[in-house]
């Protein structure tokens, strides 16, 4: 029983990381209407930057915070300089552009930091606590707490602030937004900035568990896609729930179902994507019009 709870909590922790990336995807999908295939590589790049700062002697917490800020700025810059040019155009063009960005960032990270893997320190102590008689790792609990905190902040931003309202409006109806004086372009930039920061956060949370190398976020991205598909690409709540469901089922399957080995594990989220999109394309919480052919 204790084992089960541990696996469950661990799954929620991993799921929280997927949820963070899924939230980033949803943010961009809602504002710019595209799926950012480069989200994972952007996060990986940010994680390397954090590592670089840490190696240079900056205390970990500060390095992570600075990375979040830098990622925010970088996300804004990418929207303004690259994506802006293609907005409103063909979907396929944007797919290629984000794929191109994927390849470019992957190569750039490899060029700057090399292709070997390295260790990344955890933000949390390597410890365990007793919760209701079950020993749970501090790291897992910490990750879940961070995600909940982030979700809370995002909620406050979008539901209780003027600028959050403007961002929602710009995503819903750019023309009407302009008519009330909202600078839609700026709102899009903010959306991309936030998404980039979210991705960076996911990166620094997941890096201690896997190795930090250029392929760090490769499979995480797939899991995040599955989470977003499950939750509904235009639903933030869906991204979180989806992430947790995927994280938990991945962990449960890995622990209790024998025939799913290490390399077949990726088939779990892929299978989920396939089934969800076939049975209920809008996902659990998404709006129906978005996905129907």
């Amino acid at each position: 029983m204790e084992r089960f709870v541990q696996v469950l909590v661990d799954g929620i922790a991993t799921g929280s990381i997927y949820a963070a990336v899924a939230l980033a995807l949803v943010l961009i999908f809602r504002s710019t209407g595209i799926v950012n295939f480069a989200q994972g590589e952007m996060a990986m790049f940010s994680t390397f930057v954090a590592w670089g700062l840490y190696e240079a002697g900056v205390p970990l917490g500060f390095a992570v915070l600075s990375t979040l800020v830098l990622s925010f700025l970088a996300g804004m810059a990418i929207e303004r300089t690259l994506i802006r040019h293609f907005e409103g155009g063909e979907v396929l063009t944007l797919v290629i552009v984000t794929l191109g960005l994927f390849i470019l960032l992957n190569g750039l990270a490899g060029w700057i930091w090399g292709f070997e893997n390295r260790a990344f320190p955890s933000l949390f102590p390597d410890d365990a606590v007793d919760v209701v008689g079950v020993r749970l790792s501090v790291e897992s609990l910490g990750i879940v707490a961070v995600l909940l905190g982030v979700v809370g902040l995002l909620f406050l931003l979008f539901q209780r602030t003027k600028i959050g309202l403007a961002m929602r409006a710009a995503a819903l109806n750019p023309e009407s937004s302009a008519l009330v004086g909202v600078r839609v372009g700026t709102m899009l930039m903010l959306g991309w900035g936030l998404a980039a920061a979210l991705g960076a956060l996911a990166g620094v949370l997941v890096a201690p568990r896997l190795f930090l190398d250029v392929n760090l976020m490769g499979s995480v991205l797939i899991y995040a896609f599955a989470a977003a598909a499950l939750g509904g690409f235009d639903s933030a709540l869906g991204a979180v729930v989806g992430g947790w469901v995927i994280g938990v089922s991945e962990n449960l399957a890995g622990t209790y179902v024998d025939f799913i080995g290490a390399d077949l594990k990726i088939l779990v989220p892929l299978g989920i994507i396939f089934v969800v999109l076939l049975v209920r394309p809008a996902g659990l919480f998404g709006t129906r019009e978005v996905a129907r052919a």
Binding site: L99, F233, L277, A291
Partner: protein
């Protein structure tokens, strides 16, 4: 546009050039060009789906792999003659594409992209899983077609010409398809689904058929890949390959037949040259070139050529009109 006579002479010239290649270059180069032909066939299939029919697939590499493995297994384990393995691989992929298409094509753009992305990632894993059949990560060595002695050609030259023959057939097929009834239905679906439906085009059936045809082309390409390389392993068919095919059609030019060749040249040679320039920067150069193409040349290389031809034709027409005018009105005066 350009007159049919000019068109035909250009095509003949290009065909002659294509046939001449194995005699102009050494074996390594010829091998590269053989791969270009292989990729061109696959890219052509993807272009039918994406360019002409407006659907996004990130999973083309999976069908390519399916075709390659089908051909490999048929040749190595079932002793099927090489020439038969090609259409067989195509048929297998046609069926697979059809079956996959039926449910998948109910999805809109990005969601279809996601599902096909899943397919592209899953397939190599599946290959590894069923290693009893596929020899998993080790890979499978396949006997390549050997030049019959009476032709007096080297193996690489024969291989190139054999692949060229198949490729030419596939291109002819595509050209025919696009101009025929199915072709019109395909483009009608891309341009406007609702009007197409009211005109009697069966959307679902058309889309599924195109998906199946496009998969079949990938399958044939995969089989030809086996001819060219003589070895299959899961690592050769990763997600990168699907990306490459997609890049090829946009670089080459959507909804163009000739674009497939440009695209294939791009994906075969750019990574090689990129790694010549700087090994570590390959990704940067490849990704950068992709983005640059989208920014500067969204219609692809074929589109650019099209525009240039258009400009030249208009220029020539204008001069013709002007000279006609002069004939009719002795007082002179251009338009």
């Amino acid at each position: 546009m350009t007159s049919p006579r000019v068109r035909i002479s250009v095509i003949c010239a290009l065909a002659a050039l294509a046939v001449a290649i194995p005699f102009l270059f050494g074996p390594y180069r010829v091998g590269q060009f053989t791969l270009v032909l292989v990729y061109a066939v696959a890219v052509l299939g993807l272009n039918l789906l994406v360019g002409y029919n407006g659907q996004i697939s990130l999973g083309h590499g999976a069908f390519f792999a399916l075709g390659a493995y089908s051909a490999a297994l048929l040749i190595e384990k079932a002793n099927v003659p090489h020439l038969l393995a090609v259409p067989a691989a195509g048929a297998v992929c046609f069926v697979a594409g059809y079956l996959f298409g039926i449910p998948a094509l109910r999805l809109r753009g990005l969601y279809l992209a996601l599902v096909t992305l899943g397919l592209a990632i899953a397939f190599p894993q599946l290959i590894k899983r069923f290693d009893g059949l596929t020899d998993g990560t080790q890979g499978l060595t396949v006997a390549q077609p050997v030049a019959p002695s009476w032709l007096g050609l080297a193996d690489d030259q024969f291989l190139y010409l054999l692949v060229l023959a198949f490729a030419a057939l596939m291109f002819l097929g595509a050209w025919n398809l696009v101009r025929g009834q199915l072709g019109r239905a395909i483009t009608a679906v891309r341009d406007a689904e609702i009007p197409a439906a009211t005109l009697g085009v069966d959307l679902g059936a058309t889309k599924t058929r195109v998906f199946a045809v496009s998969a079949a082309y990938a399958g044939v390409g995969g089989a030809l890949y086996v001819f060219a390389i003589g070895f299959v392993a899961p690592e050769a068919f990763t997600l990168t390959l699907s990306f490459a095919f997609l890049a090829a059609i946009v670089v080459g030019g959507l909804a163009t037949i000739s674009g497939a060749v440009f695209g294939a040249l791009f994906i075969e040679f750019v990574p090689v040259y990129a790694s010549d320039v700087n090994d570590a920067l390959t990704g940067v150069i490849y990704g950068g070139v992709l983005i640059a193409f989208m920014w500067l040349l969204p219609e692809g290389a074929a589109g650019l050529l099209h525009r240039v031809r258009g400009l030249m034709a208009r220029h020539r027409d204008r001069r013709e009109w002007a000279s006609e005018e002069k004939d009719l009105t002795p007082e002179g005066g251009a338009a």
